[in-house]
Amino acid sequence: MNKEKLTTLLSNRFQGKDIGESFGLPALIIAKEELMDTAHLLKEDQTFGFNQLVCETVTDRSEYFELVCHLRAVGKGHEMILKTHVEREETPLLPSLYELWQAAELFEDEIYDLFGIRFDNHPHLRRLFLDEEFEGYPLRKDFVNTLDL
């Protein structure tokens, strides 16, 4: 499926939702309460069939955090970006995508490590790169490095 056809299909299916374009891929922005339903639909609907989670990461937009998921349909040959916003607080909570795509396990570990966003229903949420004793989340914009290693 080419990009234009996918964008049309997405805007028909998700009417009233914000569908933009980012890095040449259709980007669907949804509320975080709808994240799981949308993800289930995108994976299980045969026209979309997004069976691979290529990348899951977070951008710090100062006022809020933006979760960015790159989805790919292997075999069908199309890709899209799924985005959701979460308010900025000490430890925001999002649903885990692990039950749909197991690749999410390490992506979400990394997000928890560097941005401090917790994931509901994640099998084993832990710090991936830093020590367990590390204080703070270093990729947040307001992180101040006080370490003298």
């Binding site: 830093l130 703070g136 270093p138 992180f143 490095n145 003298d148 290693l149």
Partner: protein, 181 residues
């Protein structure tokens, strides 16, 4: 000085001629330094891009075997030398210290590259990188560069050989700035 005849060993007539060219007199310090410096076995330990230069220095083009760095050992128990080639993060630091502690004496450390000397490009603002490997293990030779050329590594290793040759056989000399742990 005159010596009494009875203190000189009895040397049979047929050996006397060979004595002059077959007996070597040296000191323990000198021969131990000679032996140690010419057979330094490095530990296979590389954490980033400096390790690529280190591998280049070990392979055919630069061939550090010419100077006695014969075999890189995969276990610290058989190694004499640890070349810290690459950035050391705070998570890697206890591993490096453990590897250093597992090397039997006499043991030597070479800090290769900017990251191991000061933290290099990460020195100003980083939440993980250790600013200088000499905070973890005592360092004998520092080699600047980012990364140093294999020639620079070889020169540093030969400087270590010179250092070993001047050391005493039964005294373990550590660099003065041994980190307090």
């Amino acid at each position: 000085m005159e010596m009494k005849k009875e203190f000189l060993p009895e040397i049979p007539e047929e050996f006397r001629e060979n004595l002059g060219r077959n007996v070597l007199v040296t000191t323990i310090d000198k021969i131990a330094g000679w032996a140690r410096s010419n057979s330094l076995w490095p530990l296979t330990f590389g954490t980033s891009c400096c390790a690529i230069e280190m591998m280049s220095a070990a392979s055919a083009k630069y061939d550090w075997s010419r100077f006695g760095f014969e075999v890189a050992r995969a276990t610290p128990r058989q190694a004499d030398l640890i070349i810290v080639a690459g950035t050391i993060t705070s998570k890697m630091a206890p591993v490096l210290r453990r590897l250093y502690d597992q090397i039997p004496e006499p043991k030597y450390v070479i800090a290769m590259g900017a990251c191991t000397i000061t933290g290099g490009p990460f020195a100003k603002d980083s939440y993980t990188v250790v600013r200088g490997v000499d905070k973890i293990v005592p360092v004998d030779v520092y080699i600047p560069g980012c990364p140093p050329r294999p020639e620079a590594l070889l020169q540093g290793m030969m400087a270590l050989q010179q250092k070993i040759k001047l050391q005493k056989a039964y005294v373990i000399e550590k660099p003065k700035d041994e980190p307090e742990l």
